[in-house]
Amino acid sequence: MFRRERSIPLRGSAAALCNNLSVLQLPARNLTHFGVVHGPSAQLLSAAPEGVPLAQRQLHAKEGAGVSPPLITQIHWCVLPFRVLLVLTSHRGIQMYESDGSVMVYWHALDAGDASLVQAAFARGIAASGHYVCVGTWSGQVLVFDIPTKGPNIVLSEELARHQTPISDIATEPAQGQDCVADTVTADDSGLLCVWRSGPKFKLLTQIPGFGVPCSSVQLWQGTIAAGYGNGQVRLYEASTGTVHVQIDAHARAICALDLAPELLSAAEDTFVHIWKLSRSPEDGYIEVEHCHGECVPDTQLCGARFCDPSGSSFAVTGYDVAEILRFSSI
């Protein structure tokens, strides 16, 4: 059972984007950082465990040519082995900051030159894999940046060109040490998932085709891919083979966010948040799912959701047009 905790007010309402909440847990400092995209700006704030906001900062998308101020598509903390970077994607490019957002250490402008006049260029989908940061683009390309242990000498190391439609989300997990183990999954608006092993040259391990619906959010944990789709379904796949093991008719509207920690959290535009327990069957090792808890956030089209602690005993959500971060914790 969960109960509503005190909300954290935001300067601006959350935009109707998917994966519109990033959380950086800092248990050693008894702090949690939150990041939410409003539109042309994004807000970072840090809060104490009871939800008391302590500090906040607003970041803006870097200006460029165009008729209106550029919109931010996503904000995400990337936890790398020796540092944490805050990455912000927009319709102009990719901005990388130190984790508190105080200093921009890198700017990558999107090459909109070959964008057909029909599509606006944007970057979307951010994840850290080892010492790489992967960022997706509207064309389906995934840009891989090599991040040094400190300083601004960030280098674009590779461009993965497997997807044909805009990247929606990227998920990673620490490499398990073995050679062929998947540690990165990229998802796009056609529902296609590509499974990779990171490295100086990323290797494509397998592909999971879509079924006519965008995959808006993806997570990877202990070799299991959890994918949330535009028709409200959640599917769990074995990362190494790409086979589907569980299909959940989880929501009545498009899923906007997933988190996996070890429980699975799903949030959708139908105003519901669900928590699922994942386990492996003792007989055959297959993934099994059990529904734990459902929460309705009345009249709120959710757009972001994250666990706030490693055990999954608390989570936070954001909603379109709502100027606060809603928090829940288990009783």
Binding site: V67, S68, T73, G212, G230, N231, G232, Q247, G294, C296
Partner: protein
């Protein structure tokens, strides 16, 4: 984010505008033989609707509209509707125009938000087009124009993927972000609550293509289903009955986008300086936009495509009031909360403005400043009226 959003935005907002104008004109209808010179008759109403609809669906204008492009700012779009609303013998004071625009935007925001699946915004658009055709049944030429637009719409949008519609939906919602004006008819129907937020029901049919939530299916390595369990979702949904039709004539299934106004359900608004959410909105309108000139050029091309018929001879302008009395209209103008004022682009129009070239040149000569509105009297020349918007 999507460059295909403007036609949908324009047609749906235009559709709502026509519903409201039609309802207000009917409400102020006086039977022809009893009408004084400055009162509305059925003939006048039909004329106004015909004029506006034929301007809206003008081929040159539609061609410009359907080009892939970014969404205009709220300011720019409002200017297009101001122009459209004055495409006939009808005049609207600032307060009535503000109210009209508030109602249009909140109605379409509601429709976008409540669309079960992103592609359903196309069905909402077709509902508006169907109703528009009903308003001009006696005019085959205009009907033909609307049908042409219908085909343009289904040609372009009929084949877009679910992902592209999701982008369109997000683009529309970003446009409508932080608008919480309370609308009487919505409050009465309990689709909007007193804070200005729309009610999102957790019951009813699921979108076409979505299963009713509640089932967990487990598969083995060979793809064979080995287990089925159910869970309690929390809502009370039922399966979708059928898919709405995209044909010229067909059952759209969805009711969103059909006319919710009638003589018994009049058009009213409450002005609500809702909440601190608006702080971010005002901020954006105060910061000067250095690229507004480029936007003006786009706007000029669009408006230049509109062929506004000039009133022939010394016809007086007929004023339409969106409020119940003139006093109420004046009061609304005085008490409109600052953060809700639409800072409309000031366009100084000249006599000959049919060519795009001319308009672009003219647009280029003027900065966007908010000039204080001079009091306007009934019967002003319609060009002077444009200056005062």
């Amino acid at each position: 984010m999507s460059m295909r959003t403007l036609p949908l935005l324009f047609l749906n907002l235009g559709g709502e505008m026509l519903y409201i104008l039609d309802q207000r004109l009917r409400a102020q209808n006086i039977p022809g033989d009893k009408a004084r010179k400055d009162e509305w008759t059925e003939v006048d109403r039909k004329r106004v609707m015909n004029d506006i609809i034929s301007t809206m669906f003008n081929q040159k204008f539609m061609d410009e509209l359907f080009k892939p492009q970014e969404l205009y700012s709220k300011k720019a779009l409002r200017t297009v509707y101001d122009r459209l609303a004055h495409a006939s013998i009808m005049r609207l004071n600032q307060a009535s125009m503000d109210k009209l625009y508030d109602l249009m935007t909140m109605a379409f925001k509601y429709q976008v938000l409540l669309c079960p699946r992103p592609k359903d915004v196309l069905l909402v658009t077709l509902n508006h087009l169907d109703a528009i055709k009903g308003l001009i049944q006696d005019s085959p030429t205009i009907l033909h124009q609307v049908d042409k637009t219908f085909r343009q719409l289904t040609d372009i949008y009929g084949g877009l993927s679910a992902g592209e519609f999701q982008l369109i939906r997000q683009t529309l919602l970003i446009f409508f972000q932080d608008l919480h004006i309370r609308v009487s008819i919505f409050l009465k129907d309990k689709v909007q609550n007193s804070s200005g937020r729309f009610v999102l029901p957790v019951s009813g049919p699921v979108p076409w293509g979505t299963e009713v939530p509640g089932l967990i299916r487990t598969f083995n390595n060979k793809g064979k289903e080995v287990k089925r369990t159910e869970f309690k979702h929390g809502g009370s949904y039922v399966a979708a009955p059928k898919e709405g039709s995209l044909e010229l004539y067909g059952d759209r299934v969805l009711k969103l986008g059909t006319n919710m106004y009638s003589v018994n359900r009049p058009v009213e608004t409450h002005m609500s300086a809702a909440s601190k959410n608006l702080a971010s909105q005002t901020q954006e309108s105060i910061v000067p936009n250095p690229l507004a000139k480029e936007e003006l050029n786009l706007l000029a091309r669009l408006i230049g495509g509109m062929e506004i018929q000039k009133p022939s001879g010394p016809e007086p302008g007929f004023r339409l009031n969106l409020f119940t009395t003139d006093e109420e209209e004046e009061q609304a103008a005085l008490t409109r909360p600052e953060e809700l004022s639409y800072k409309v682009i000031n366009i100084q129009a000249t006599q000959d403005q049919q060519t795009n070239q001319e308009l672009v040149r003219i647009m280029g000569e003027f900065e966007i400043t908010d000039q204080s509105r001079q009091s306007s009297s009934k019967g002003d020349d319609w060009l002077a009226m444009m200056d005062e918007l």
